[in-house]
Symmetry: C2
Subunit: 209 residues, 2 copies
């Protein structure tokens, strides 16, 4: 099938501990057609984080200017820091035909879907709750309270799953990356993402009649 496509904006949400980050990095590494959106934040860089890799680090004033100039697709305020998605990078990549991946929680995901109705919403889940618990505990870096908070948060996030187009079950990484790729490829063939192609065919058919 050959159709010229603008890229699709792909929003990835999911439980903390489901392995979203690794999955997305591996996807971008394995296939050429993806670009990872980088968020902007007012929080300070943590050790090991690099400007323009994990985040664009800006001050409060710069962030609020971005908000005013409609330069963000969505933004939110967590723990007294802003986090948002710069619009320009996303639109440039989509225009070039890249599928742009964005990691974001559900409220943000729904805001993105409003502004980009052709966005594809993916929800990453572990194969089971037992596995989720194991992964959270296995990190060994989190206290019991933090793990419980995350499980509670997962419980809340699970309420919104029906708002997503597909669930992605992260069991075995390589397998999951392939399936995620193939879900995204499939999305390119939804009629509402191919209005131009369909209209062209209709006009040509009408011209014959």
């Amino acid at each position: 099938m050959k159709m010229k496509h603008k890229g699709i904006l792909i929003v990835v949400s999911g439980f903390s501990g489901a392995g979203k980050g690794t999955l997305m990095k591996q996807l971008v590494r394995s296939y050429e057609n993806y670009a990872l959106s980088i968020s902007m934040t007012t929080r300070k860089p943590r050790p090991g984080e690099e400007e323009g890799r994990e985040y664009f680090f800006v001050d409060r004033e710069e962030f609020e200017d971005k908000i005013k100039s409609d330069g963000l697709i969505e933004y939110a305020n967590y723990c007294e820091h802003y986090y948002g998605t710069p619009r320009e990078y996303v639109e440039r990549q989509l225009e070039r035909g890249k599928d742009v991946i964005l990691e974001i929680e559900i409220q943000g995901a729904l805001k993105v879907k409003e502004k980009f109705p052709t966005a594809l919403l993916l929800f990453v889940m572990p194969p089971s709750v037992a596995e989720l618990k194991k992964r959270l505990e296995g990190r060994g870096t989190e206290s019991k309270e933090v793990i419980e908070k995350r499980l509670k948060r997962a419980c809340e996030e699970a309420e919104g799953i029906e708002q997503y187009d597909y669930i992605v079950i992260n069991d075995e990484l390589e397998e999951c990356v392939k399936e995620m790729h193939s879900l995204i490829q499939a999305a390119h063939y939804a009629p509402f993402r191919n209005e131009e192609f369909i209209e062209k065919m209709r006009k040509e058919l009408a011209a014959l009649g």
Copy 2:
């Protein structure tokens, strides 16, 4: 990703000359997980057609009994003959986890979607109108009038494309069969086709809280 699934009912429509039939046969031959639904009709078998392969051939009375006993998923009347989809075979195959493929035009497709809300609707198109014309003419068996009628019919069918989940562009057969398979695989991961799995996970998460 491992989830236990019931099969999906797949409805295939598309322009005459788009190659639906070949595509579906090749799909069933290439992958294990499909079953082809066989229609029931009151028209007489044509030379070369076999009972239970192209159609189940029945008389008018038997067909109307099937209608009365709700034994058909959908049916229609063309040129004074009934055509319909027997329910029993479809449901048995879905129960066994097979994805059941059904070739049918748009009115029938929409009726099926009403009765089976998780049905997947695929619309097969040629890569261009020029190619469609070439294929119809290339058969060499059709008169000019018949070809024009088919193109006119295509024009009408094209009105309904937005009702379908995906368009399938039949350019190169093998390639297209692979892509059709991967669209169907993707459909298995829509949340509304995984209510049981999601509910189970929600319950388990809630139990931890």
